[in-house]
């Protein structure tokens, strides 16, 4: 029976194939989907320059935090910073380092705006999403947009149905500017929307908004720019009208008071800066402050240094992610020496 005789040989071959390839260093990370286009770009460029392979799985921020807590990855990534009880689960062994800034834009579908942008302020957005403003004929909308004739339509409110960092940033903003929102809905990656439809992903929300005259939704800025969606001009905390750009997103981050020992868990929605776009947020990498793998820790630290170089930050800009303002980039760079491996400084 030649078939059976060959079995041991076959098994041996199989086990050989399954054996790990020794000597190759691969860093693994998992988490946020929002910065994934940038991260995959960064990791590819970095891999070409240094030969260090970084494998990133965009499984979502929640998943990224969970994997990081379980210790199944070398680093995590999240659009929402870790909460205190999550930090306690890793005994405080985490540095949350911001990488870039993302913004959320209000997109809408209204004919007859005459080339003008819709203007909204914080409480109006909150009241639309709370179902308190239901018609485009509402006097408060007219007051914000003098000279615009709105259609006699009900407002169709569109939110994200899938849990996402974009929703977290948006609801964080609403919770800051509207006490009622904070009480009734709160902030989270998924919330109980008082009114409206749910679209899956940026593309789902966009499709819904494009389809329905009189609808309004929120999407991530890079997506809106890439798809040339119309988006609203917002009144920020300083009372100025701002449109979402990389510069206004950076202005939001720069206008925060930064303590030198900050843990970077800073919400920059509704930021005070004169030119600050109000619905912006950092996205973070989660790094073990004291790693048990010295080699991995060193490689990761080197990558973080590289990430802060002007070339890497410019790469972010090309992909519509706002780079860290200099003040924050300096703080992150100053934090890197804190990282340890087995309690000792990383060489």
């Amino acid at each position: 029976m030649p078939g059976l005789r060959a079995l041991p040989t076959l098994l041996a071959l199989l086990s050989l194939a399954a054996a790990p390839v020794a000597g190759q260093q691969i860093l693994t990370g998992a988490g946020a989907t929002f910065p994934y286009p940038l991260y995959s770009n960064w990791f590819a460029t970095y891999g070409k320059q240094t030969g260090v392979r970084i494998n990133y799985q965009s499984i979502g921020s929640g998943g990224g935090i969970r994997q990081f807590i379980k210790g199944t990855v070398d680093f995590g990534a999240s659009d929402a910073s870790m909460k205190d009880e999550q930090i306690a689960q890793v005994n405080g062994n985490v540095e949350q380092l911001p990488t870039v800034i993302g913004s959320v834009v209000m997109t809408y579908s209204l004919k007859g705006m005459g080339g003008r942008r819709l203007r909204l302020d914080a409480t109006t957005i909150a009241d639309i999403y709370l179902g308190r403003i239901t018609s485009w004929q509402d006097p408060r909308l007219k007051a914000l947009n003098p000279g615009v004739t709105f259609p006699k339509l009900d407002i169709v409110v569109v939110g994200r149905s899938d849990g996402s960092g974009t929703t977290f940033v948006f609801t964080d903003y609403l919770a800051k500017v509207s006490p009622e929102w904070a009480r009734r809905v709160g902030r989270g990656t998924a919330v109980r929307w008082p009114v409206g439809l749910g679209g899956k992903g940026n593309e789902g929300v966009t499709a819904q908004v494009k389809l329905l005259e009189g609808s309004i939704g929120y999407v991530e800025m890079g997506y809106a720019l890439a798809n040339r969606l119309s988006f609203a001009e917002l009144k920020n905390q300083a009372g100025n009208w701002v449109i979402p750009t990389l510069a206004t997103a950076q202005a939001a981050a720069a206008s925060i008071e930064w303590a030198p020992d900050t843990d970077f868990r800073v919400s920059i929605t509704n930021a005070p800066g004169a030119n600050a776009y109000p619905i912006s947020s950092f996205t973070w990498l989660l790094i073990y402050r004291n790693s048990t793998k010295p080699e991995t820790a060193a490689k990761l630290r080197d990558f973080l240094r590289w990430m802060l170089t002007p070339a890497a930050q410019a790469q972010a800009e090309r992909l519509h992610y706002a780079p860290l303002p200099p003040v924050v980039a300096k703080l992150v760079a100053a934090r890197l020496p804190v990282l340890r491996a087995n309690g000792r400084p990383i060489p």
């Binding site: 059976l4 149905s161 849990g163 960092g165 709160g186 929307w193 439809l197 749910g198 329905l212």
Partner: protein
């Protein structure tokens, strides 16, 4: 080593034993997997089961921020969308398969069957995108206003028309389950002995009478089996439904209103479930979905069993 000769191999019991062991293991993997699945789901959902108990099944609040969860709108949405889908898909698929088996010339049979089976090979995300960009605009411009104008006195066809809705999801589901129901029922109809038809025709029956009186009753249990297969597919379908159902945790009488299904909420919120109770609640939903599927399938088995016992049926 001497080369093995045939007689030695035929009395050598090892081959047989090994083969027996292999197939036994293969057979055992299924119940084992199922056991692990239920066990894992139970473990994962334990915090939610402790907190909400059976009230989870009847509560209609889903608030991840305040950590209050209930699955009632999801259960209703899942069953309703699947049932609606079958109501649309079954008559169509049966019509197609009866046409193919009883009426179509040979030259048409192959191509039509092939095209319909091809529908099963399209990924569901493609169905979802097609639904968003083609089906929804079409329905919003034609069928939905028509239904509201003609049947608007029924509560099912009232209210605002957004596009994404229970009815849209059911229609895409119907298209997705059609190839399954169609190809299985076609096979079943083809298995009906020709003598059955010839006997009916010989007695002076028309083609219609032969099909309804002799062929369909003979194939009854097999056709029910085909429908059950479609139902299972409709209950579990995730991506296309998520993209088209509007994703709202509400039960509405109107089919134009958005709804939600169990599979959709898991797909939507699982990756970003940040707090533990949210995670447990989603796992609990998965457990409930599993339970509903088991119940539906058990009911279907019972139905097939009773139908085939009543006589005149081929085993499914």
């Amino acid at each position: 080593m001497t080369p093995p000769d045939v007689t030695e191999a035929s009395v050598n019991p090892w081959g047989d034993r090994l083969f027996r062991l292999f197939v036994t293991l293969a057979a055992l993997t299924v119940p084992l997997l199922l056991g692990f699945l239920v066990y894992e789901l139970y473990l994962g959902s334990a915090p939610a089961i402790d907190k909400f108990g059976f009230g989870f099944l009847t509560s209609d609040i889903w608030d991840p921020v305040k950590e209050e969860f209930g699955a009632w709108p999801l259960i209703v949405g899942t069953l309703l969308s699947a049932t609606l889908a079958l109501l649309i898909a079954v008559p169509l698929s049966l019509g197609v398969s009866i046409f193919l088996v009883e009426f179509a010339p040979k030259s048409v049979r192959g191509p039509i069957g092939f095209v319909i089976e091809l529908l099963a090979a399209i990924p569901s995300v493609v169905y979802g995108l097609w639904g968003i960009f083609f089906l929804i605009p079409l329905l919003r411009a034609t069928l939905f206003p028509f239904l509201r104008d003609t049947l608007g006195f029924l509560p099912f066809f009232q209210g605002a028309i957004y596009g994404p809705s229970m009815l849209t999801a059911a229609m895409i589901l119907a298209i997705m389950v059609m190839p399954y129901v169609m190809s299985v029922s076609r096979e079943v109809l083809m298995a009906v002995p020709t003598s059955q038809r010839e006997a009916a025709l010989a007695l002076g029956a028309t083609r219609w009478e032969a099909v309804t009186g002799a062929v369909l009753p003979y194939a009854r249990s097999g056709i029910i089996g085909a429908i059950i297969l479609g139902l299972g597919r409709a209950l579990g379908e995730t991506m296309a439904v998520t993209m088209l159902i509007g994703n709202r945790h509400e039960i509405s009488a109107s089919l134009f209103a958005p709804g939600y299904t169990m599979a959709s909420v898991i797909a939507n919120e699982f990756t970003e479930a940040s707090n533990d109770m949210h995670f447990a609640a989603l796992t609990y939903v998965a457990l409930v979905l599993f339970g509903v599927t088991v119940l539906v399938n058990a009911g279907a088995r019972l139905l097939i069993w009773r139908v085939s016992r009543r006589g005149g049926g081929t085993p499914a």
